[in-house]
């Protein structure tokens, strides 16, 4: 069964076309000009339940926009999206109980609370029974080895520690699909390896579908079994894992992306 169905999705953003200089600023103030930017164009793909899929593409390719449409916080200008049989932007709240998300550059934890209090708050937000929450938290805390972090304030965590906690928070309600937007951004090599291993193991153990965006070939190579290359808002390549192996061993993303782009005639 398909966990994610995307058909001919387009997303346009209306952005202000600002002019520079003093008179430009005055003109911007008096009569601002706008133009439409196509962030995503005719995007179609399906993701099966339990699949681990990565979006790869340069900055501004439309990966994060696509992910935001999949979790329902942005709606497409055209096309159709179904996540677990629900239309994400229309059934956003009920879908939220079935999906989890981690945005690498945004924290979903409450910075003025301790890690434990933040997790308890998540349990209440997701209507988890206290007993279920206790068992689940115990399991995740052991797996992610974050026991010493529980009494710490969220604002005192290092980036690597915070990302582990973000993942635990997004897994507390046992989501069927986990959306990850650059989950290893800014982490050192060791922290990246640990996080990749944890994400992969959790997905294997729980049969959880993974959808992630990243610039890091390592994330994609060690977690995912399918790669979607997006460029200029369109899907250029859809590769299963065997095809990933050779280019993704030690190459940098730019090299891989360049070679992929040549293959599909982007450049």
């Amino acid at each position: 069964m398909d966990a994610v169905r995307v058909e001919n999705v387009c997303k346009k953003f209306r952005i202000r076309d600002g002019q520079s200089g003093f008179f430009g600023q005055v003109r911007n103030f008096i009569s601002p000009k706008f133009r439409d930017v196509n962030a995503v164009q005719n995007l179609s793909f399906n993701i099966k339940q339990g699949e681990r899929v990565a979006f790869l593409g340069p900055n501004g390719a439309g990966k994060s926009t696509t992910l935001k449409m999949l979790v329902g916080i942005l709606y497409p200008t055209e096309g159709r999206i179904e996540i677990l049989g629900k239309v994400p932007w229309k059934q956003r709240k009920s879908l939220a109980y079935k999906i989890g998300n981690v945005f690498g550059n945004r924290s979903q934890l409450w910075y003025h609370l301790s890690v434990k209090d933040s997790f308890d708050l998540f349990a209440r937000i997701y209507d988890l029974e206290p007993k279920t929450h206790r068992h689940r938290l115990k399991d995740l805390v052991q797996a992610f080895e974050i026991q010493p972090l529980l009494p710490k304030g969220v604002r005192q965590l290092s980036l690597g520690e915070r990302m582990k906690c973000e993942l635990v928070a997004s897994l507390l309600h046992r989501p069927e699909i986990l959306f990850l937007d650059e989950p290893t951004i800014g982490l050192d090599v060791t922290a990246k390896l640990t996080l990749r291993k944890l994400i992969f193991e959790r997905s294997e153990k729980e049969g959880m579908t993974l959808v992630l965006t990243s610039h890091d070939a390592g994330d994609i190579g060690s977690i995912c079994d399918r790669l979607l290359i997006i460029h200029d808002g369109t899907l250029r390549l859809d590769l299963p894992r065997p095809d990933l192996k050779s280019p993704f061993t030690d190459s940098s993303v730019q090299e891989i992306y360049r070679s992929m782009s040549h293959q599909c005639g982007v450049v």
Partner: protein, 266 residues
């Protein structure tokens, strides 16, 4: 989602807000000192001016001290939640709350209520001590002081709801502070914070009575000052009306904000 489960969900934000409120002991202390200072200044001012001498028999100095203590109690207790909402909008964080099974405005209001309660409690006790010491007596009948507790809580909640709408305005104008200033300054004038509305010129009093400010800021104080036996019911009734109106305002503003965010991004 059942009503009980929704109630439990938002109750935990009230608890979180209370915890935050009690943690801000230096802010509370600062407000208590400020509260005491303005009560001393105004009590001296009214004693020197002698309102009876200027031909106004509607009020007396002791009553005015209690009046100011009660209206300032409400003004000083309400946490400024619009600032956090404004910064969440400017950072683009509001969009990400949309992916959670929770209503952002209700969450903010619940958190604000939690912060409001310790402030109301501590400043209320301080206000009674200050006003009693400065006026030398309790208001008549003293039981009226207990009646203002539910009024203070509800007036604080309505102010918080309005602040959510003000904070959300940052989505269009970047900074919600000018909107808050407007609300605050008009509130000072029309709310009768410093002087009771019956001392205003008739036309200005009529304009003020048509606005939500008197009931929010000085409804409780007027009840204590004039000893009206029905003031609790009347003021609570008006506060419920303005509470419903401000909820509709927040729903409308948030829906516009949501539409724009989902279309154009955070």
């Amino acid at each position: 989602m059942g009503a009980v489960s929704a109630f439990k969900k938002y109750l935990c934000f009230v608890e979180m807000g209370m915890k935050r409120g009690f943690e801000r002991k230096w802010d509370i202390l600062g407000r208590v000192i400020f509260y005491g200072v303005i009560l001393v200044i105004f009590s001296k001012l009214w004693t020197s001016v002698d309102l009876l001498a200027v031909g106004n028999s509607k009020v007396h100095t002791q009553g005015l001290i209690w009046y100011l203590a009660i209206s300032e109690w409400i003004v000083l207790s309400v946490p400024l939640i619009y600032i956090e909402i404004e910064s969440e909008i400017r950072r683009g964080d509001l969009l990400y709350f949309e992916g959670k099974p929770i209503s952002y405005p209700t969450m903010k209001i619940s958190e604000g209520i939690g912060e409001l309660l310790p402030y109301l409690g501590i400043l209320g006790c301080a206000g009674v001590i200050f006003a009693w010491a400065l006026s030398g007596s309790l208001p008549e009948p003293p039981f009226n002081l207990l009646k203002i507790v539910p009024i203070g809580i509800l007036a604080g909640i309505v102010s918080l709801i309005v602040q959510v709408a003000i904070g959300l305005s940052a989505h269009w104008i970047q900074s919600a502070t000018p909107v808050y200033w407007l609300w605050q300054k008009v509130g000072y004038v029309l709310g009768g914070v410093m002087l009771p509305l019956p001392l205003y010129p008739d036309a200005l009093e009529k304009i003020a009575r048509a606005s939500p400010f008197p009931v929010l800021l000085s409804g409780a104080a007027e009840g204590v000052l004039y000893g009206d036996s029905d003031f609790l019911i009347n003021t609570m009734g008006m506060l419920f009306f303005w509470c419903a109106a401000s909820i509709f305002l927040v729903i409308g503003v948030f829906q516009k904000c949501q539409d724009r965010m989902s279309r154009d991004g955070g």
